[in-house]
């Protein structure tokens, strides 16, 4: 399988990455290379092997349901580009 320039454009859009025409071509080459590796992996017979979700065989540690954090809004907002009335301001987003 290899990606078309249109596929790369769609992936870039979903990833919110802007690509020039030249970048799109080089990215297409790199992605197709990665897909080549995956094809090699897919050639391995994995019948009967349980898929794993994590590389280490350890289970999730759980945290007791206790509020441990206090208000640090002032610290966080001191390094935010723009805030108002306690809110973080971002370019307008509306559906």
């Amino acid at each position: 399988m290899s990606l078309t320039p249109e596929d790369v454009s769609r992936i870039a859009l979903l990833s919110r990455i802007e690509l020039s025409a030249a970048e799109r071509e080089s990215t297409r080459g790199q992605l197709n290379g990665i897909l080549g590796f995956i094809e090699q992996l897919q050639a391995v017979d994995t019948a009967g092997i349980e898929p794993m979700a994590h590389a280490v065989d350890v289970v999730q540690r759980l945290r007791p349901d206790v509020v441990t954090e206090s208000d640090r809004r002032a610290d966080f907002q001191a390094v935010a580009p723009e805030t108002e009335a306690g809110l973080y301001l971002v370019p307008k987003v509306i559906e």
Binding site: A53, Q60, D65, F76, A85, V90, I94
Partner: protein, 478 residues
């Protein structure tokens, strides 16, 4: 030709924990913006999520309550999309292996019962809130809600009408509150539903669905589905194909309108979250949670039918909410099992009517369960008649006394059962109403009722009506 409506629901229930699902921030409602958003919630670099044990307990409780499989091992996944109220650029959710699998919920419409199958329920985090108004062309972001624990509960496309969808949503709403995992507050967004709606000709494959987002009241759910169904049928009849889409319901116009064309699941690029290890739930943990679960509505319904002789319908009404069931149990415990049916009748009749009229929940009833039980006991032992009982009920509602006994005593409502006293009154009534007596002797049955009425009136309703009947018959016959 008729159409078949196919509906599946996805519900987000906010779990009743103290802290967030992956951090130690508070989830209390109504705080100042961003004061409950810590480094994990706002996704500062280098932070790691740690799963809240109580959120898992909530999921186990739910799984047990709906007869589902609790996955011995489930996986957290990243659902990737870009939106400013999702600071990580992905939502931690579960995808391939959710914590709760299968199960279902019995719903009831009148006398009809139906089983709605669940596909799954999975744990995930909520996003923050975007405020689009009034920031000189910018949006404001509040991340207090980011990381709030949610259980997303997904049904099979089992429902066939808006009424069924609402019946399911109500049953689920009652259940999550019953087992104490969600406060059910729809105004505050603690319980919100998305409805997947499609139409088809009976027997044909499923039609293309559109998803109505964020239905936060049962009334809106019914209106939105009804509108959407009619819209889809019109489109098809006019030769246009339905395109998969996400739509919003506008309560002001009563219409649904498309929000964005629905991106297919691949676009979320789900993959297992490397920051979280598999969640293991052993049989021991499940047993421990099970032992702490309250008696479930279904089991309680069966018990009410056996112990108190209630019909399936009555039992279902009385277990429609935990508060209602608690009230019934408290009342019947005082009044005695023999009065089980009478207690049910009073709660579903007089009390429910009065609560509805005042837009009150049974938990806020001015008449306590013990007071109502006391009233029913006085009917059962013939101290008062049903009619007088309604007066006592009224007085209890208005707080005119602490108990039925006190009101009966204070207002002199005790039933007259002394036959000598009743006979005396009947003699007076017969003397005063010769015309009715003659009419009765001439064969007019109605005249008898008029005489009973007069006798009851003369005793201000306090005579035992059965006794009046018997004595009157004896006198007129003799």
């Amino acid at each position: 030709m008729s159409w078949e409506i196919v509906i599946g629901l996805e519900t987000h229930a906010q779990l009743q924990t103290k802290s967030k699902i992956f951090s130690g921030s508070s989830i209390a409602f109504g705080a100042e913006p961003n004061v409950q958003a810590n480094a994990v919630d706002i996704a500062l670099p280098g932070v790691l999520p740690v799963l809240n044990r109580e959120a898992v307990v909530c999921a186990i409780k739910f799984g047990l309550a709906v007869g589902a499989t609790i996955a011995p091992r489930s996986i957290f996944a990243r659902k990737n999309y870009f939106y400013p109220d999702l600071p990580k650029g992905y939502q931690i959710s579960q995808f391939e292996i959710p914590v709760v699998q299968g199960g279902g919920l019995a719903i009831r419409q009148g006398e009809q019962e139906k089983f709605v199958h669940l596909t799954r329920a999975h744990l995930e985090e909520d996003a923050g809130k975007s405020l689009h108004e009034d920031f000189h062309g910018k949006s404001g972001i509040d991340l207090n809600r980011a990381g709030t624990p949610l259980l997303e509960i997904v049904t099979e496309p089992d429902m066939r009408s808006s009424a069924e969808a609402v019946a399911y949503a109500r049953a689920l709403h009652a259940l999550v509150q019953w087992i104490g995992i969600c406060d059910g507050n729809m105004q505050e967004g603690s319980f919100r539903c998305d409805a997947n709606v499609s139409v088809r000709r009976p027997g044909e494959p499923l039609g293309t669905r559109r998803e109505i987002k964020n239905l936060n009241s049962f009334r809106f759910m019914q209106q939105a589905i009804d509108f959407e169904v009619q819209w889809q049928i019109n489109e098809i009849v006019e030769g246009r194909a339905i395109r998969q889409a996400t739509v919003l319901f506008d309560p002001d116009t009563g219409e649904t309108r498309a929000m964005r064309s629905k991106e297919d699941a691949h676009d979320y690029r789900y993959f297992p979250d490397p920051d979280l290890l598999p969640l293991e739930i052993g049989a021991g943990w499940i047993a421990e949670v099970k032992s702490g679960l309250p008696e479930l509505p279904q089991a309680m319904q069966a018990r009410f039918q056996v112990e108190y002789g209630l019909s399936a319908y009555d039992a279902a009404i009385l277990t429609a909410s935990r508060a209602m069931a608690d009230y019934y149990v408290a009342a019947v415990t005082v009044a005695g099992a023999a009065n089980g049916k009478a207690v049910a009748n009073w709660i579903m009749g007089e009390l429910a009517a009065r609560l509805n009229k005042n837009d009150m929940d049974v938990a806020a009833s001015p008449i306590s369960a013990a007071q109502l039980a006391g009233l029913i006991q006085r009917i059962a032992d013939n101290t008062i008649s049903n009619n007088i009982a309604k007066k006592v009920f009224e007085a209890l509602w208005n707080g005119e006394g602490r108990s039925a006994d006190e009101i009966i005593e204070l207002q002199g409502l005790k039933q007259i059962t002394d036959s000598g006293a009743i006979e005396k009154i009947i003699d007076e009534v017969l003397t005063a109403n010769q015309k009715s007596v003659e009419e009765f002797r001439a064969g007019k049955e109605k005249a008898f009722n008029a005489l009973v009425g007069q006798a009851m009136k003369a005793t201000k309703g306090k005579a035992n009506p059965q006794q009046v009947n018997d004595l009157l018959k004896k006198k007129l016959g003799g």
